[in-house]
């Protein structure tokens, strides 16, 4: 990379070209095909047909459901998240540090496994809690029906509120305590301070977390698929799934799916644009310099009741569903009471060592996760390097293409990949693992670019220049200076991709073939087929793998920091 080479195609141009081609093939082509299929009918541009599709009851109902569900989840999730964030940062709640970690646990758990557990507990006829109330306590009907809007909103809230919790507790912790102290010395009591100073100052963080919940819920497949389909509650992703699966490739279904996908993309883009605005306009400089700890609100008489409330919340939303999954996974037949003679380890044994379907699924998920994480990590380093460090024209395109999937829901990516790689262009990857791998790479590229760009931005140009001035070649400078410094970013990228890929459902459920089920797909389809105990047992195993993975990362990351 000499400075004054007079050729048009030096290393920068080659790297740039490579990066663009990768992103075009993986990201741009599938996306464009969706819009093309939605708006291009019989050889010409056609909006009337799009409107016709949207006017079908099935479609506009799904759109309405997506809106109702995501707004509902956003409201409840924001209230729950803000309340707990305030509780663990601004009051004298006992064991605040541990409570804070516990409130983050739902982030680790896949929402659709939670939905599965709640179905086992609260489905109107067979749910264990409902049956307990009807059979033992003599209630006439179920106390709660989970197959409803309220049920879906409740379950999604349990797993999505951490988006707000993380943002708000972070903002409250970083906030300069003297902002609140100066209000106190000005004569304001704690209630006035909370209302007039604290809440307005963290409002941007609350809103930004709320929009993340909305974005996620809008595009969320699992919970609605598990709890909604029974009573005909479809949202956009589940209707896309329904269309693709029923159709066996019929033109009409694919078109409906692409129109739905287009709506989803536009909504998601709108939400992200709003979030960006909130963050750039409304974020105040409230970060503390030197700081004493903020004044804690003494809860006094409410201290113990609120602590018990938190424990109950955690018990109810984390412990109970998780325990249910493992217990049901150990039952001889679904529906039996949990007594010693009904419980067995045979299901787990069968799933892990005997049954090809589940063994394949575990193997597929692990190998897909590893390979997509590795490929995306390395591609991410190169592309980030071009974006952050090189002076090439048009690198804005790279940034746009790379970050695009961040705003594109998984079902849309999957649909685009189907359109691009089902033989239309001479390559048919449908029903193979390769199509899932391509979709994973497209979906997770943004994670890798974020982590790697952040790491690369820390490496100031002068560090490389100092190496060059000390006599190192560009290659040596890269190897000895740049790579060691961005390695943490690369490792972060790897795990940011590997762990979500392990539990992925939304993308894989649209792409799987007979032998290419992933763990998520296997759990979902087993449940659909009525194999509830096997589904639960596999979900239990998935939870163990996920938790082990998270613990391992924590170890790796903290070990790094200590050395």
């Amino acid at each position: 990379m000499s400075i004054a080479k007079d050729s048009r195609f030096g290393t920068p141009e080659i790297l740039f070209g490579l990066s663009v081609s990768v992103l075009v093939i993986v990201v741009a082509v599938p996306m464009l095909l969706i819009f093309f299929n939605a708006f291009w009918v019989d050889g010409h541009f056609n909006v009337v047909d799009v409107v016709n599709v949207l006017r079908q009851p099935q479609t506009y109902k799904a759109l309405g459901n997506s809106l109702v569900l995501s707004v509902g989840v956003t409201i409840t999730g924001t209230i729950v998240g803000t309340f707990f964030a305030w509780l663990v940062t601004r009051t004298d709640l006992p064991f605040k540090k541990s409570m804070k970690l516990l409130f983050l646990v739902p982030f680790m758990l896949p929402a659709f496994i939670g939905a599965l557990a709640w179905k086992m507990l609260l489905s109107p006829r067979a749910g264990y809690i409902n049956r307990f109330f009807m059979d033992v306590l003599g209630f006439d009907g179920p106390i709660f029906d989970i197959y409803t809007y309220a049920g879906i909103i409740l379950v999604e809230t349990m797993y999505l509120f951490p988006f707000v919790f993380i943002q708000v507790s972070g903002a409250l912790e970083r906030m300069d305590p003297t902002l609140e102290e100066s209000a106190r010395i000005s004569g304001a009591d704690l209630l006035t301070i909370t209302r007039k100073i604290t809440i307005p100052l963290v409002l941007p963080s609350i809103l930004s977390g709320a929009l993340l919940i909305m974005l996620y819920s809008m595009a969320h497949f699992g919970t609605v698929a598990v709890l909604g389909i029974e009573t005909g509650i479809y949202n956009i992703p589940t209707l896309i799934y329904e269309k693709i699966h029923q159709s066996a490739g019929s033109f009409d279904s694919i078109r409906t799916a692409t129109v739905l996908a287009t709506v989803l993309v536009i909504t998601a883009a709108l939400i992200l644009w709003l979030q960006n605005k909130v963050l750039s306009k409304g974020r105040y400089q409230i970060i503390a310099g030197k700081s004493f700890r903020p004044t804690e609100l003494k809860l006094r008489g409410l201290r113990v009741p609120l602590f018990i409330f938190c424990l109950l919340y955690i018990g109810f939303t984390i412990v109970l569903p998780t325990a249910t999954i493992f217990m049901v996974g150990g039952l001889k037949t679904y529906g039996l009471p949990f007594t010693a003679e009904n419980l067995t380890l045979a299901n787990y044994n069968h799933i892990l060592f005997e049954w090809d379907l589940t063994r394949d699924a575990i193997w597929n998920s692990i190998s897909l996760g590893l390979s997509s994480a590795l490929i995306t990590m390395f591609a991410g380093v190169v592309i980030s390097y071009v974006i952050v460090k090189m002076k090439v024209r048009g690198k804005g395109i790279l940034e746009f293409l790379g970050m695009l999937p961040f705003s594109v829901p998984g079902s849309v990516i999957a649909l685009g990949v189907i359109l691009a790689w089902s033989g239309k262009f001479g390559i048919n990857l449908y029903n193979t693992v390769w199509i899932i791998l391509l979709a994973y790479i497209a979906r997770y590229m943004a994670f890798s670019l974020k982590a790697n760009s952040a790491a690369l931005e820390q490496v100031h140009d002068s560090l490389v220049e100092a190496a060059r001035a000390s006599g190192a070649t560009m290659a040596q400078a890269l190897r000895d200076i740049v790579i060691p410094l961005v390695r943490p970013g690369m490792i972060a990228a790897f795990f940011l991709i590997f762990l979500p890929a392990l539990r992925e459902l939304t993308v894989s459920v649209l792409l799987y073939g007979p032998t290419t089920r992933t763990i998520g797909v296997a759990i979902y389809t087993l449940n659909e087929d009525g194999e509830t105990v096997y589904s639960a047992a596999l979900a239990g195993i998935a939870l163990v793998i996920i938790v082990l993975g998270e613990v391992l990362i924590k170890r790796l990351v903290t070990g790094k920091n200590n050395s």
Partner: protein, 352 residues
């Protein structure tokens, strides 16, 4: 008569005694600066006066009113103490306009509207902020933000103003300007000031009395002149102004420094108890050491630097470096030359 009174005020953080049996009286309209290195307990003391920290022992009174007392388990909440306070990091609220920032303390006191507007404008006028009243404090410089904080503290017309390193986040040239503004406002409104700083020149310029602290213990309380001219101990001597020290063996006949014996020269005799102890520390300001050709403590000039008006000499006496500062108009020894040092205003402290 003492207006603010701290009696035996003590604060512990776990095993560490952050403030140890501190006594202090501040008169009405007086400015007292608490000076010391970071972690000496000065900010903790200020925060106990403000009411943000409880006491582990002692009490604090304002006027004839008890506001903090360990024995009575009584703590008036900060919001009821009616103090003005200015923080190091400004702590102006970015979501409120300059006007609303200053009006806030008046609004929470539920004053009539006209009075809120009048008093806010008065405070803004005295801090030269009227022109930017409608704007956001985020658009102001550091000095501007600190003026908003000052105006907000002024708005309630406090009897006591607590200032927690209010100038250390500012650019150096703003600092001097703000010093005068604070002094001006105090003269005009007559409030007492308790001022925390680690900058000795700030403390000297602003305050009527300085309290020097170290590791939770008061080292000295006195006027700036007393603290500079008659430091109570070695720490105060070293903390305020430039200083150099020489260890000396002492006997009734004379002293020995770096193995060389000197008879007692005029004006250099240490206190009797140090002579009895056999050793002492000779302390001096670099400007209060003269070069003499005959006699004096012998040393060798090793470095010489021009600092504009003064010349800075480093003189080795045995293994100890002594700093001497003389005006450039008096010719001094050259580097490598041997010379005699005469201490015109020596201080003696025990060897620790």
């Amino acid at each position: 008569m003492a207006y603010i009174e701290l009696n035996q005020v003590t604060k512990r953080f776990g095993e560490v005694i952050a403030v140890n049996r501190l006594d202090l009286q501040i008169a009405q309209g007086e400015c007292v600066a608490m000076l010391g290195p970071s972690g000496c307990g000065k900010t903790t003391t200020l925060r106990m006066v403000a009411g943000f920290e409880d006491l582990d022992d002692g009490e604090i009174r304002v006027g004839d009113k008890l506001i903090s007392s360990k024995r009575e388990k009584y703590y008036l909440p900060p919001e009821q103490r009616n103090f003005g306070m200015v923080f190091q990091a400004f702590a102006v609220w970015p979501h409120l306009s300059v006007f609303e920032n200053v009006a806030f303390p008046l609004r929470v006191r539920k004053l009539p509207k006209e009075e809120i507007v009048a008093r806010t404008e008065e405070a803004l006028k005295h801090t030269n902020l009227l022109a930017v009243a409608a704007g956001s404090p985020d658009d102001l410089s550091g000095g501007g933000k600190q003026r908003v904080a000052l105006a907000r503290a002024l708005a309630i017309r406090p009897d006591v103003m607590l200032l927690d390193e209010p100038l250390s986040s500012l650019d150096p040239h703003f600092r001097e300007e703000m010093r005068f503004e604070i002094k001006d406002l105090q003269r005009r409104f007559g409030f007492s000031i308790l001022y925390v700083t680690h900058d000795q020149s700030e403390a000297m310029a602003l305050s009527d009395r300085i309290l020097v602290m170290r590791a939770g213990l008061v080292q000295q309380i006195g006027t700036p002149l007393e603290v500079y001219g008659l430091p109570a101990n070695r720490f105060v001597f070293e903390f305020i102004g430039l200083s150099c020290f020489l260890q000396a063996g002492l006997s009734p006949a004379g002293m020995s420094i770096a193995g060389v014996a000197y008879p007692w020269p005029a004006g250099l005799v240490p206190p009797d108890e140090l002579v009895a102890a056999g050793a002492g520390l000779l302390a001096a300001r670099p400007t209060e050491i003269d070069f003499v050709s005959d006699g004096g403590v012998r040393g060798e000039v090793v470095r010489k630097a021009y600092l504009g008006e003064t010349i800075d000499y480093r003189v080795m006496v045995g293994a100890t470096e002594v700093r001497v500062q003389k005006t450039r108009r008096v010719p001094g020894p050259a580097v490598g030359e041997h010379c005699g040092l005469y201490f015109s205003h020596p201080h003696w402290y025990p060897v620790d």
